[in-house]
């Protein structure tokens, strides 16, 4: 016998995926209980808060669509972390890569605004990927040459990226017609990603799903996936087998960065319609959290991204209905992370 028949393989993958979903859901429940304590400390009614969060995000078509909007960049930034993580590279630079992707895509939108959409949008997608990819590539090269840990360099380059974005929106690209707001001019309609019906759900979600699908396919089926898993399993042995480990370090950091850059492109093109500093409420970091929650498993990434999209959207709701600062959900995310890390350690 060779590989098990296709149906059996799918069944195994499905079961593993379900187990992964369960392992995401259980700690999330525990985290909700802990967060309820935090809400009580603020003198708020946690049950009311949770009802608000879930009814507003899952209870109406509009709320659900907004959750999908929040989920889109999270899926991309999570895959951006999961790809290099296959060979144990820790990409904490999703946030910066997202910013640079947004800057590159904006450049395309501002420079080629006269082009028709069918030409301009693919160009912006490519530019967004390239921008984020180059940002990740720098860290990949530094790591492959043995100079700097990618964890440190990706983290530090986040700050550089934010400053770069501030420079372009306060400086050369500032909208001349804006009332001194630090933002670029609005994009031409051709530079806007198409949306679904009347909602804000845009084509970026499809890009995210394709990215997850390709990630799953490449890792499990292809020669490169096998080589990646070999490096992840035993880099020393992989090197002895002639697998160019350094090239994978550079290449996967490029791809990871590119995916995060794609998230940035989607945000400027579909949500903001222009480049401004308030581009991302930390999507890059949340993507990191999602990837770790899911253990890099594709189905788990989708599940965890949806869950954290609910949490992120819930922050806005709490701000409105409970008069809590929106950032209070960061506490909830931190608690989720703690619970998951604790669980992982406990399993060992």
């Amino acid at each position: 016998m060779t590989a098990p028949p296709e149906s059996a393989r799918l069944a195994i993958a499905w079961r593993a995926g379900r187990a992964r979903l369960a392992s995401v859901a259980a700690p999330a429940g525990l985290a909700l209980v802990v967060f309820a304590g935090v809400l009580l400390a603020f003198g708020k009614n946690p049950i009311k808060a949770y009802v608000d969060i879930f009814s507003s995000t899952l209870g109406s078509p509009y709320g659900f669509s907004e959750t999908l909007v929040k989920m889109t960049p999270l899926v991309l930034t999570a895959v951006a972390v999961a790809v290099p993580a296959k060979i144990w590279l820790i990409n904490v630079g999703g946030e910066g890569q997202l910013y640079i992707g947004a800057i590159f895509a904006t450049w395309g939108a501002l420079t080629f605004g006269h082009l028709p959409g069918w030409l301009l949008l693919p160009l912006m997608v490519a530019l967004g990927f390239l921008g984020g990819g180059l940002w990740g590539l720098v860290s990949g090269l530094l790591r492959a040459k043995g100079w700097v840990s990618e964890t440190i360099s990706t983290l530090l380059m986040n700050y550089v990226a934010i400053l770069l974005l501030n420079y372009v929106v306060f400086g050369p690209w500032k909208d001349p017609e804006g009332v001194n707001y630090p933002q670029t001019a609005e994009f031409a309609p051709a530079a806007m990603l198409p949306v679904l019906g009347q909602s804000r759900v845009h084509l970026g979600l499809a890009l995210g799903l394709v990215a997850v699908g390709l990630f799953a396919f490449f890792v499990s089926r292809t020669r490169w996936g096998l080589e990646m898993r070999a490096i992840g399993g035993n880099a020393d042995a992989a090197r002895r087998n002639g697998i160019p480990v350094g090239r994978y370090v550079v290449g996967l950091m490029f791809i990871g960065g590119g995916l995060a850059g794609l998230a940035g492109m989607c945000e400027v093109s579909a949500i903001q319609g222009r480049l401004r500093p308030s581009l991302s409420p930390g999507y890059g970091y949340t993507g990191f959290l999602i990837s770790w929650m899911a253990g890099g498993h594709p189905l788990g990434i989708l599940g965890a991204a949806f869950l954290l999209a609910v949490v992120t959207a819930g922050g806005d709701i709490l701000q409105m209905t409970q008069a809590l600062p929106g950032s209070v959900v960061n506490i909830l995310m931190a608690v989720i992370l703690f619970v998951i890390l604790g669980r992982r350690t406990g399993e060992r």
Binding site: T222, E227, A230, N234, D236, A237
Partner: protein, 504 residues
């Protein structure tokens, strides 16, 4: 120890084993890989708890729940991997091990006691020396002092002769004899029969988790021990040698005054000149840590030449990357397949495909030819005379011997012209070792060249057409085995100058 039983998921490691050792006795425990020797001793040392059975010390039944309790019962164990901190001195390391170490240890007193013990047993341990400067043999003596200072009366050694030069082995056995004189009980695990017959008073043979027999040395011969180990006598005929050594044609490997730069803890190789001709096995003897790993990695292209030239079948391969060197027909048989050549969490079949991912790639790499990998593996294992293991099992779940054979099969499936064999039989039981040696000989007959890096001198003398010794990164003494002796090679291995004019 009586009726000791211990099961792990899937195997019964110890099955109603009874074992005893007296003060003033050296007791050897021998057996194949996976016979349960280490498990039994780890139970005695409190590492594992037995599922059934009892342990008595001086007639009194005891429960040993942890190594800590074992130490309180004056049982000590020296593991294969020493628990030592390289940056600290000998005295610091020994002090750390002592029970009830006061907040401010009296280091001069500890150093004095170390010197006392070292003198009594001729160990030559300097309490002030940092651990990193010591050889494996010296570090082992530090472990002995450690146990004696902690008042252990029962001393257990897990494969203590692994990695020692012949002289060091003889020295260790003298220490054992001195300990016996002073009433200590010494238990040592090994699978080298010559050692057992050289120094043990009693010998227990384990087979598949049971004691197959316990003999006095006077009653034991190599044949009786082998038949106890395997149930039936295993004939180790010396590998037959057909055909001349060194066929025509360019050498498979030629190193011309190659030097490397060490990075980190590695050893730099200096001025290596080495040739491996078609149909030739060149043995490299030496105590590990003298540049063996670097030499193998140099041939593979993992370590770069700082000076000199590396030729593979006449072509300048000095700057080739690993993938190109492997593609040109170089195979690598590692000492430890799981850490050096395979990924434990990937399946057997995935590890097979890993050896040559280009060859099994289909549609430009979008798919993998699993069927091809499977049939190549099966054919290659058949050549080794081994059954095909579960292909979808993660490699790490197989026994060490099976992992080694899978990697071996993978490497010969590539029809290599040059094989770098790295301690290929280390840790293998007698039967697997014989199969591996036969395979190397068969490859030689087919015109392949073999660079055999080993510290098993008997193996090197049996297989090699030529023999060189590696010491501190330099090669010495290229001889045919017939023109030299184990003593001479052992002498070179420990850094003695080459003795040229042996009176014939």
């Amino acid at each position: 120890m009586r009726g000791i039983t211990k099961a792990f998921p899937g195997v019964v490691a110890n099955d109603t084993v009874s074992f005893d050792v007296h003060g003033g006795e050296i007791h050897a425990l021998v057996g194949e890989n996976g016979a349960g020797k280490s498990t039994l001793m780890k139970i005695l040392y409190g590492f594992y708890r037995p599922d059934a059975g009892e342990i008595r010390i001086a007639g009194r039944p005891v429960q040993i729940r942890s190594p800590h309790e074992a130490r309180e019962l004056r049982i000590g164990m020296v593991f294969q991997e020493f628990a030592q901190i390289a940056a600290l001195s000998v005295a610091d390391n020994i002090a750390l091990f002592q029970a009830n170490l006061p907040a401010v240890p009296d280091m001069p007193a500890i150093a004095r006691r170390i010197e006392e013990i070292s003198r009594r047993y001729g160990l030559g341990v300097d309490p002030r020396a940092p651990i990193w400067r010591l050889s494996v043999g010296e570090r082992q003596k530090v472990e002995v002092v450690k146990l004696l200072l902690a008042d252990a009366r029962i001393l257990i050694f897990d494969e203590p002769t692994r990695g020692l030069a012949p002289q060091e082995v003889a020295g260790l056995f003298r220490v054992f004899a001195d300990l016996r004189r002073d009433g200590y009980a010494v238990v040592f695990i090994t699978h080298k029969l010559a050692e057992v017959l050289a120094c043990a008073d009693r010998i227990s043979v384990m087979r598949r988790g049971r004691i197959a027999g316990t003999l006095r040395r006077s009653d034991a011969t190599e044949e009786t021990l082998v038949s106890l180990m395997f149930g039936a006598p295993v004939a180790e005929a010396p590998p037959s040698r057909r055909g001349p050594a060194g066929l025509a044609g360019p050498p498979h490997l030629e190193l011309r005054s190659v030097s490397t730069r060490a990075d980190g803890r590695a050893v730099s190789l200096r001025d290596i000149d080495l040739t491996v001709a078609p149909g030739e096995i060149v043995g490299v003897a030496g105590v590990s840590g003298n540049g063996q790993r670097e030499l193998g990695d140099l041939v593979l292209g993992l370590v770069r030449c700082a000076h000199g030239v590396k030729l593979l079948r006449g072509a300048d391969a000095t700057r080739w990357p690993v993938a190109r060197i492997r593609a040109s027909g170089v195979a690598f048989i590692p000492e430890d397949a799981l850490t050096m050549a395979g990924a434990a969490r990937l399946t057997v079949l995935e590890n097979m495909a890993l050896g040559d991912t280009r060859r099994y790639a289909r549609h430009g790499g979008l798919a993998i030819d699993w069927e091809g990998a499977r049939s190549d593996l099966a054919r290659s294992l058949a050549r080794l005379g081994v059954a095909v293991p579960a292909l979808q099992a993660p490699l790490g779940t197989l026994s060490g011997g099976t992992v080694q054979r899978v990697v071996l099969a993978r490497e010969i499936a590539r029809r290599p012209k040059l094989i770098v064999a790295f301690y290929p039989t280390r840790g293998l039981d007698v039967r697997s070792a014989i199969a591996t040696r036969d395979l190397l000989m068969a490859l030689r007959e087919d015109g392949a060249g073999v660079l055999l890096i080993s510290e098993d001198l008997a193996e090197l003398f049996a297989l090699s057409d030529r023999l060189v010794v590696l010491f501190r990164g330099k090669l010495a003494g290229a001889r045919a085995p017939a023109d030299t002796s184990i003593e001479d090679v052992g002498y070179l291995m420990t850094g003695g100058p080459e003795r040229h004019d042996r009176s014939a």
